[in-house]
Symmetry: C4
Subunit: 224 residues, 4 copies
């Protein structure tokens, strides 16, 4: 059924294209410096932003379809320069359906100092279930970033990692969940930054973090 | 007169739905993390945001009608995960017609450190008549948050409480007044944060706070 | 010529109503907490915002015309609670055609600490020609604020004064110039705040401030 | 071919007019305090913003065409008060096709302290290839600013210079590249400011900066 498959890819193209507007709305990106990708369900393919294209100029057609080694399968434009990192995550974390990368400012401030964001707010316990961890410094372009992301997030509750001196990568069951994690990551990075400017945040107890995390993951929101 | 009653509920649904746009406009919420409710005048009912639904997708019809124990009376969606807290406030503070909850960033920075916001600006004296007090840490889902909110705000001039490690709850004679309190709370939390970053604010004298508060509550604005 | 006079007042009503949108655009106000007024040219009248009315609901017709003692001459709504302060300025500074009051956040942080904003940027020298001075703490409602504003700004180059524990008042040859001063005041208060967070700004030499000020006042912009 | 030449100038007028909207969108300017210019390809002319005109009122027709000494060649309005600085850059850096000047707040905070922005983020290495350097204090109106800009940026990788106590000048192969540099400059100034508020950023190694810079300049984006 190639037609049905193409329809599936087109829907993913639209989703990925549209979700970039959320990065803009929440101020996570400037100019062209951030990207969203999604796995094509049931196929060894991903859809990702083209490199260096303005968020104003995105459309489903402009998105690039790559295989999970990062090679272009479909599309007139070159894919994001972070394609190798996204592809590595999809190859090594089959449960991941979406990946987001940003240089959002408060998270990058933690990245520049090389510090994780401690879990001192109920909203952080809800979404991250723990601190937002720090990943290694890694050069751009080969598998190094992907290895750092997977090595940090595998087995961790947090869907977000702050890569040292670089920025944020988030994962999710789908691309929308990864975008949500990127939004909540910057919000947490900002709020804890503000808290620490004037003193020391009161830690949350591990058992409170556990309880909040499990409740949020199982009770919050609408159920199908 | 069931028809008239239904009209009354519909008007409250619209008000509650629309007021969420103010939370977005003033940057008090990200993604789906904040909610407004209103008491239905003359009935033991409240109208509240559905859980985990995007602010873009709200409508009067999407709002959820609950009784004052938090049980759903009308609506296809599950109510906010903060419903128990809102309901507790309506049960124990009959003068309250609206409740708002946010995780606005500057207020949450005070929450993370466990500090009230001192009253050092005339605009704070006007709206809050005192410091913005700190409420206890409390788990989400049962009556604990509601008890903490009521225990802190009953007998206090401030319509806002900052719950430790969590966020803001505000109350008002109606939902619009509670939204206003949430907006002014974040503005005060931000301004005093900025002031304290570079030194110590000059305290306002208690008699000046009293005079400003009484004037604002009685003279400001339009009179019916 | 009452008709021509009424046309003149209507034009001022429109200008004052429209200029409030600039306060919103530049983030100088939240909810209803700031106001613009203008002198009616050639008459002992001023046009000012009504008290406690949302910026969304302003229109030329909603503006209030007062005499220079602050008494309402024309309009269905009550005038701003800061009317006495505006009126005092118009009575005592005949060169002033517009007055603006805000609680913009960075300026209020300086107000809470009771500090003037030092002139350490060429943009400040251009617009203010000096530090932005600090005015006294004064109760709201009588002539005290007006006296503090006039006492601080008369003979000073700066069109803006930061009133201790309160907020900003600015003046201008017309209302638009006063709004510009309010915008530039917050921008200066913010930038110097940021500079001081990480060290000590390098002072500008008085002779450089003088040269910048005179050039900007005489050469910048379009000439009639 | 005067017609073709005029078409060329009109296209540059439109580009320069439109690009000011990016300064507004990214919050780099308030009121009228920032400007973009572009060299007219193949001619000793530049197109620049008129002085003191609101960004709302810009249009291709309102732009001013000057020769590279800064004298007006075409246009009803007076050119930007920074025209001499722009012109100096075009005369002395033939590879430059666009110049931007802003007073963006975080960059101006570094300017007020007289400090360059250290290169501690991969995004800075990509765009600037080095720290963002500090230029001298210079009076406005004559060649001093232009000399300071050219003296600092000639032979430097960075397309942005922070002029002491003043603001930012950026250059690019065309006006759009200069605008991008202004956007990235403020983003870097802000992020490193935030990082330093809570500790010391981890330096990037010079060889990592080199590798990132060369990759970004040669691999990022779409190729013609």
């Amino acid at each position: 059924m190639p037609g049905a498959q193409d329809d599936g890819i087109h829907a993913v193209r639209r989703t990925v294209s549209d979700l970039h507007a959320e990065l803009v709305r929440y101020g996570l990106v400037v100019w062209t410096a951030g990207n969203v990708s999604a796995r094509v369900p049931g196929r060894d393919l991903m859809v990702i932003k083209p490199s260096g294209v303005s968020y104003d100029d995105l459309s489903p057609e402009a998105m690039v379809v790559c295989d999970l080694e990062g090679a272009v399968v479909e599309g007139d434009l070159r894919p994001s320069s972070d394609t190798a990192a996204h592809a590595y995550v999809y190859r090594h974390m089959p449960e991941v359906g979406g990946v987001v990368h940003t240089h959002s400012a408060y998270a990058c401030a933690w990245a520049a100092r090389g510090e994780p964001v401690p879990c001192v707010l109920t909203a952080m316990a809800d979404e991250f279930g723990a601190e937002i961890p720090l990943g290694p410094f890694a050069p751009i372009g080969d598998d190094s970033i992907g290895r750092g992301v997977v090595g940090t997030l595998r087995g961790h509750r947090s869907p977000a990692v702050i890569m040292r001196n670089h920025g944020v990568f988030t994962i999710g069951a789908d691309a929308r969940a990864a975008v949500k994690a990127a939004v909540m990551c910057e919000d947490a990075a900002r709020t804890v930054h503000l808290a620490r400017q004037l003193g020391d945040p009161v830690p949350l107890r591990p058992e409170d973090i556990d309880r909040l995390y499990h409740r949020y993951q199982n009770v919050y929101g609408q159920r199908p």
